[in-house]
C-alpha cells in the first residue's frame, strides 16, 4: 500500500469531475435565465457536457504511469475507475438527451443538476478506496436518485416510487454503514487496502468479518438489485419517470457493481478473508437465485417497465457470475457485460420513452403493430431486445458468452447450467414483446410515432454501439481486462 499525499498535480486526474461541477453550476444559472421557449436546450447542454467530460477523461485522466492511491488514499486512480467513469458519463449523457421531451421533466433545470450530481457521486463510488469517501459517494448518489424517482410531484406513482426507493435505500444503507463501522472498529483503518492488510493479519474476529460481509452485501445488493434485496425494483422502475428508470437500471446498477468489486476483491479479497467471511458461497447462491427469480417473475408481466425491471434483476445475476468466478477474466467479463447491458438497456428504454410519450401507456399489449406504425423504432426495439436475449451479432451475445466462459473457467459448471436455462426463459419473454411489435396488427387509425432529433441521435448511437460492441469485441475486451487487472 503506497498512499500518496495530496498534490495539486493530481487534480488533473479529476478533470472530468471538476468539469461536471462547472456544468452543474452552468445548469443552475441557465435554469434561472433561459426563457420557456428555449428550455429544451437544458438537456442538450447536459448531454453535451457529459460527452465533453468523457473527452476530458481520455485526455487528462487516462491511468498510465500514475496508477495508485492518490489524494491521501481517498481515490484510487486505475483502469477500473476509468472504465466505470466512462460507463456513468455515457449513460448520464444519453439519459439527458432522451429526457428533453418528457413532460414535467425535460424542461426542469433542477432535474439535470441532480443528474449531474448523481453521476458525480457514482464516479466517486467507483473510484473510492476509502470507506469514508465511499459512503459519502454512495449517499451523494442515492439522495439525488430518490428525488429523481419522485420527480413528478403530481403523479402518485412517481411519488410512491420515490418514497419507496428512499425508505428501502435509507434502511439498507444504514445497515451497510454498520458493516463499515465494524471493519473500521477492528482494523482502525478506513482505507480499503489498509483494511485488507489488517484482515489478512487476522485482526478481525471471524464473527465480525462475517457480520460486516453480510451487512455490506445488504447495502450493495440493494443498489444492484439482487435477490433478496430486489423488492423495490419493479415498483420504483414502474413509477419513476422513464428516463430516470433507464438511468437507475444501467448507471446505478453499474455503480453498485463497482462498489461490490472494490470492497470484496480489495478489502475482503484475500483467501483468508473470503474463506472466513464466507461471502463467496453467499454470492454464488445469490447469483443463481437472482437470475432465476428475475427471469421467472418477468414472464407474467404486462407492463414493459416492470418487465424490464425484472429483466434487470436477471441481468444482475448474470453479471455476478463474472465476479464470483474470482479471476481477472471474470471481472473483465463483468465489466464488459455492464457496458453491453448499458447500451442495450438504454436503447430499450429510449423506445419506451418515445412510445409512452405519444401513446400514454406502458402496457406491452399497446405495442401491437409498432413495426407497421414506425418501422425504424421497431427495428431499434428488435435490436435492443434481441441483445438482451443474448443473440449475435449484438453485444448481449458476446457478453453472455464471456460470463459463461468465466464461470466455466472457475469450474462453476452448475452455475453455467443455471444461467443457460435462464437464458432460454429470458429469450422467451423478450420474444413475446417482439411478437407484439412485429406480428400483431396495429389498432385502427394509429399513426407513426414522432421521433425528435436528440432521440434519433441517441437511438442511432446506441443501436450502432450494440452492434459494434457485439462484433468488434477485442478493443472493448482489452479495456475491460485492463480494468480487471487493476483490481488484482
Amino acid at each position: 500500500m503506497n498512499i500518496q499525499d495530496f498534490e495539486w498535480a493530481h487534480l488533473r486526474l479529476l478533470a472530468p469531475e471538476i468539469f461536471l461541477v462547472v456544468v452543474a453550476a452552468v445548469m443552475m444559472s441557465l435554469d434561472l435565465t433561459l426563457p420557456e421557449s428555449r428550455r429544451r436546450q437544458l438537456g442538450l447542454v447536459t448531454g453535451i457536457g457529459m460527452f465533453l467530460a468523457m473527452g476530458l477523461a481520455v485526455i487528462f485522466a487516462l491511468p498510465g504511469m500514475d496508477e495508485g492511491l492518490i489524494l491521501g488514499g481517498m481515490i484510487r486512480n486505475d483502469f477500473a475507475t476509468f472504465a466505470f467513469r466512462m460507463i456513468f458519463l455515457f449513460s448520464s449523457g444519453v439519459t439527458a438527451l432522451v429526457s428533453v421531451d418528457v413532460e414535467g421533466l425535460g424542461r426542469k433545470g433542477e432535474y439535470y443538476t441532480m443528474l449531474i450530481g448523481t453521476t458525480l457521486g457514482m464516479i466517486f463510488m467507483a473510484a473510492a478506496a476509502d470507506l469514508v469517501m465511499l459512503y459519502l459517494a454512495i449517499e451523494t448518489t442515492s439522495v439525488g436518485l430518490y428525488a429523481m424517482a419522485g420527480f413528478l410531484r403530481d403523479n402518485d406513482k412517481s411519488v410512491e416510487s420515490g418514497l419507496k426507493y428512499f425508505l428501502f435505500g435509507a434502511t439498507t444503507s444504514t445497515v451497510m454503514l454498520y458493516g463499515f463501522s465494524l471493519l473500521f472498529g477492528f482494523t482502525g483503518q478506513t482505507n480499503l487496502y489498509g483494511i485488507a492488510e489488517a484482515v489478512s493479519a487476522g485482526q478481525v474476529p471471524a464473527l465480525a468479518l462475517i457480520a460486516s460481509a453480510v451487512m455490506i452485501i445488504v447495502g450493495v445488493g440493494f443498489k444492484v438489485a439482487i435477490v433478496p434485496f430486489h423488492f423495490w425494483t419493479p415498483d420504483v422502475y414502474e413509477g419513476a419517470p422513464t428516463p430516470v428508470t433507464a438511468f437507475l437500471s444501467v448507471a446505478s446498477k453499474s455503480a453498485g457493481f463497482a462498489v461490490l468489486i472494490r470492497i470484496f476483491l480489495t478489502a475482503l479479497g484475500s483467501t483468508a478473508a473470503s474463506s472466513i467471511s464466507g461471502w463467496l458461497p453467499m454470492m454464488l447462491a445469490m447469483a443463481a437465485v437472482t437470475m432465476t427469480v428475475g427471469n421467472f417473475l418477468a414472464l407474467p408481466q404486462r407492463n414493459i417497465k416492470r418487465l424490464l425491471a425484472y429483466s434487470s434483476i436477471a441481468h444482475a445475476g448474470y453479471a455476478m457470475m463474472g465476479i464470483v468466478a474470482l479471476t481477472t477474466e471474470g471481472i473483465a467479463a463483468t465489466v464488459f457485460y455492464l457496458t453491453a447491458y448499458m447500451l442495450t438497456n438504454l436503447a430499450a428504454f429510449t423506445v419506451v420513452i418515445l412510445f409512452s410519450r405519444v401513446v400514454g401507456s406502458d402496457e406491452i399489449a399497446d405495442y401491437a403493430g409498432l413495426s407497421r406504425r414506425s418501422p425504424y423504432l421497431a427495428l431499434a426495439m428488435l435490436i435492443a431486445f434481441l441483445s438482451l436475449g443474448g443473440m449475435p451479432p449484438l453485444a448481449g451475445f458476446v457478453s453472455k458468452f464471456f460470463v459463461f466462459a468465466a464461470a466455466m473457467r472457475s469450474d462453476l459448471v452448475w452455475l453455467t447450467w443455471v444461467a443457460v436455462l435462464n437464458s432460454i426463459v429470458g429469450l422467451y419473454y423478450y420474444l413475446v414483446v417482439l411478437k407484439m411489435v412485429y406480428v400483431k396488427p396495429a389498432p385502427e387509425g394509429a399513426g407513426a410515432i414522432p421521433v425528435s432529433r436528440p432521440y434519433a441521435f441517441a437511438l442511432g448511437v446506441l443501436c450502432a454501439g450494440v452492434i459494434v460492441v457485439g462484433v468488434a469485441v477485442a478493443p472493448w475486451m482489452g479495456w475491460a481486462t485492463e480494468a480487471a487487472r487493476a483490481l488484482f
Binding site: S371, L379, M391, F401, F404, Y438, V439, V473, M477
Partner: protein, 519 residues
C-alpha cells in the same frame, strides 16, 4: 487465392439484409430486385468456390484467418473442405430459388427479405467456420430470424406457437452445446497452456491426447472427458438435425413457415444441425463418438422408420413433407454412426441431395397452396392439368426422395446402407450384428417413403379436379419455373454424374475419419 470468397459469400447477405431494413418501406420492387441481385451473387460465388475447390488436394481451402478476440484465443477462421463445400453450394441454390418463389410476398417484403438474408448469412457462416466461437456466432444468427419469419409471414393457424417452439428448441440445443464447447476450451487450455476456440488446433490437441483424462462426476464416478461431454455437444446440435426424440419442433415449424422459409428450414437449416454435430461433436470428441454412436444409431433408426410411418398418415401435404424430412435426416445421422468412408460419403451426399429435394417439395407445395388455397390432399386433385411444370418438379423430387437411380437421392442413400452393412461386418461383437439389421430395416422404410410419395402424386396431380379449383387455379409464373428448373437440374446432375460430388465429399470425409485413426 487472396480474394476473400468465403467472407463475401457469408457476409453479403447480412449486409444486404441490414441495408434493406433501412430502405424506404414503399419501394417494394426495389427491395425485391436488390434481394435477387444479392442472392445471385451468393449463388455465383458459391458455384465458383465449389468448382474452384481442388478435390485432389483435399483439406481446407479458401482459408481466411485473422485474430478476432485474441484475449480468448478466438479467431475469425473460415475455410471449406469436401463436406462443407457442397453445403455452401446448397445454401446458394436455396437462397436463390427462395428469393425467386417469394417474389409475390406483399406484406412488408423489405423486412421479409432482410430477415431471410440475415438467416442465410448465419447458415453460410456456420458451414465455413473453423472456430467454435464463430460457429456459435453464426449459428445463433441463423436461429432468431426464423422466429420472425415464421411468426409474421407464416400460416395464420399455428405460426405463433410453431415459431416460439422452434426458436426455443434450437436455442436450448445451441446453449447446451455451448457449455460443451467451453468444457473443451478449458480442457485444452489446461492441458496445453494454449486457450483456443480454433477447431483445427483443438483437433490437433485432441489427437495428442489432451482429452485423455477422467472427470469425477457426482453419481457416476469417474467418466472419461470425451464420453461425458459428447452427448451435450452432439445432441445440442442434432436437435436442429431433427434427431428423435427432439424432432417435433420440426414438422410444426415446416408447416407454419412461409414457403421460402420452409425451403430454407428443411433444405438447409436441418443440415446445419447435422453438420455442426459432425464438426464439433464427432470430429472433436471422437472417443466419445465411438462410445455413444452405437446406441444413438437406434434413435436414428426410429427417425427413419417412425418418420416415414407418420408421414404416410398425413393428409396435409406440408406435414407429410415435414415428417419425410425427419425420416431422411435420420439417414444422415445414421450415416454418421457408421464411422466408415462409405457411410460418411453417403451422409455427406444425403445432406446435399435431401436439401435440394426438400426445397423442391416445399417450393412446389407452396405454389400449389398459393393458387388452390389448400394443402389437404383429399381436397386437391387434377393439378397436372393446371400446372404441368409443377408436376414435373414435384415428381423429380419424389423420385429422388424414394431413392430412384438417376436422381440425387439414390447416390446418397445407397452408400449409407452399404456403409452401415460394412460397419456391421467390420466388427464381430454384438454391435456388429445389429448394424446389419438396422440397415435392412431402414432400407425397407424407403419402400414406405415410395408408397406415400406415389400416393401423394396421384392424389394431388391426377384424378378429378374440383370445380372450384378448375375455375380459379392458374399456372405458375416464370420465376417459379426458373426456380423449379434450377432445383431439378441440380438433382439430376448429381444423380447422373455423381462424380461431380463424390471425389470432393470423399476427400472431406477421409479427413473426418482420420480422427478415428484411419478406416
Amino acid at each position: 487465392m487472396n480474394f476473400p470468397f468465403l467472407s463475401v459469400i457469408s457476409l453479403t447477405p447480412i449486409t444486404v439484409g441490414c441495408l434493406l431494413l433501412l430502405f424506404p418501406a414503399e419501394r417494394k420492387n426495389e427491395a425485391r430486385v436488390a434481394a435477387l441481385a444479392a442472392a445471385s451473387l451468393c449463388l455465383g460465388l458459391s458455384l465458383f468456390v465449389y468448382f474452384g475447390y481442388d478435390a485432389g488436394a483435399g483439406g481446407y481451402q479458401f482459408v481466411e484467418k485473422f485474430d478476432w478476440i485474441p484475449q480468448f484465443g478466438i479467431s475469425y477462421h473460415m475455410g471449406v473442405d469436401g463436406v462443407s463445400n457442397p453445403m455452401v453450394l446448397l445454401t446458394g441454390i436455396v437462397i436463390f430459388t427462395g428469393v425467386l418463389i417469394s417474389w409475390g410476398i406483399d406484406d412488408r417484403p423489405r423486412e421479409f427479405f432482410a430477415f431471410l438474408f440475415i438467416l442465410a448469412s448465419g447458415v453460410f457462416g456456420v458451414f465455413v467456420s473453423l472456430d467454435m466461437f464463430q460457429l456459435f456466432f453464426f449459428y445463433e444468427i441463423a436461429v432468431f430470424p426464423m422466429y420472425l419469419l415464421i411468426a409474421i409471414w407464416g400460416w395464420k393457424v399455428t405460426r405463433e406457437y410453431a415459431a416460439m417452439k422452434l426458436t426455443l428448441f434450437l436455442f436450448i440445443g445451441s446453449l447446451v452445446a455451448l457449455v460443451g464447447a467451453f468444457a473443451m476450451y478449458f480442457a485444452i487450455g489446461r492441458a496445453t497452456g494454449v486457450y483456443t476456440f480454433d477447431m483445427l488446433k483443438i483437433q490437433e490437441a485432441q489427437a495428442a491426447g489432451a482429452f485423455n483424462f477422467a472427470l469425477n462426476v457426482p453419481g457416476l464416478g469417474a467418466v472419461s472427458f470425451e464420453r461425458f461431454w459428447f452427448p451435450p455437444v452432439f445432441f445440442g446440435f442434432a436437435v436442429l438435425g431433427g434427431i428423435y426424440p427432439f424432432h417435433n419442433w420440426s414438422p410444426d415449424g415446416h408447416v407454419a413457415a412461409p414457403t421460402a422459409v420452409s425451403m430454407f428450414h428443411a433444405g438447409v437449416l436441418m443440415k446445419l444441425g447435422a453438420f455442426a454435430a459432425l464438426r464439433m461433436g464427432i470430429m472433436l470428441l471422437p472417443e466419445g463418438a465411438r462410445f455413444h454412436l452405437p446406441w444413438i444409431v437406434i434413435l436414428t433408426l426410429i427417425n427413419v422408420v417412425y418418420g416415414s410411418f407418420i408421414a404416410m398418415r398425413q393428409t396435409d401435404l406440408k406435414y407429410m413433407i415435414g415428417y419425410s424430412s425427419v425420416s431422411h435426416m435420420g439417414l444422415v445421422s445414421m450415416a454418421f454412426a457408421t464411422m466408415n468412408q462409405t457411410g460418411y460419403l453417403g451422409g455427406g451426399m444425403q445432406m446435399f441431395a435431401h436439401g435440394v429435394m426438400t426445397a423442391m417439395l416445399f417450393a412446389t407445395t407452396g405454389m400449389i397452396y398459393d393458387r388452390a388455397h389448400t394443402r389437404m390432399m383429399p381436397e386437391l386433385g387434377g393439378m397436372a392439368k393446371k400446372m404441368p411444370f409443377v408436376l414435373i418438379g414435384f415428381t423429380i423430387a419424389c423420385l429422388s426422395s424414394m431413392g430412384m437411380p438417376g436422381f440425387a437421392g439414390f447416390v446418397a442413400e445407397f452408400p449409407i446402407f452399404m456403409g452401415l452393412w460394412r460397419a456391421g461386418t467390420q466388427t464381430s461383437d454384438f454391435i456388429g450384428t445389429y448394424y446389419a439389421w438396422i440397415a435392412v430395416i431402414s432400407a425397407l422404410a424407403i419402400i414406405i417413403t415410395a408408397a406415400y410419395l406415389l400416393i401423394c402424386v396421384q392424389r394431388v396431380f391426377f384424378g378429378e379436379i374440383s370445380e372450384e379449383h378448375d375455375h380459379h387455379v392458374g399456372d405458375v409464373t416464370v420465376l417459379d419455373k426458373v426456380a423449379i428448373t434450377v432445383l431439378s437440374s441440380a438433382m439430376i446432375a448429381i444423380g447422373v454424374f455423381p462424380v461431380l460430388m463424390y471425389p470432393m465429399v470423399i476427400s472431406g470425409v477421409d479427413a473426418a475419419l482420420r480422427v478415428f485413426g484411419g478406416s
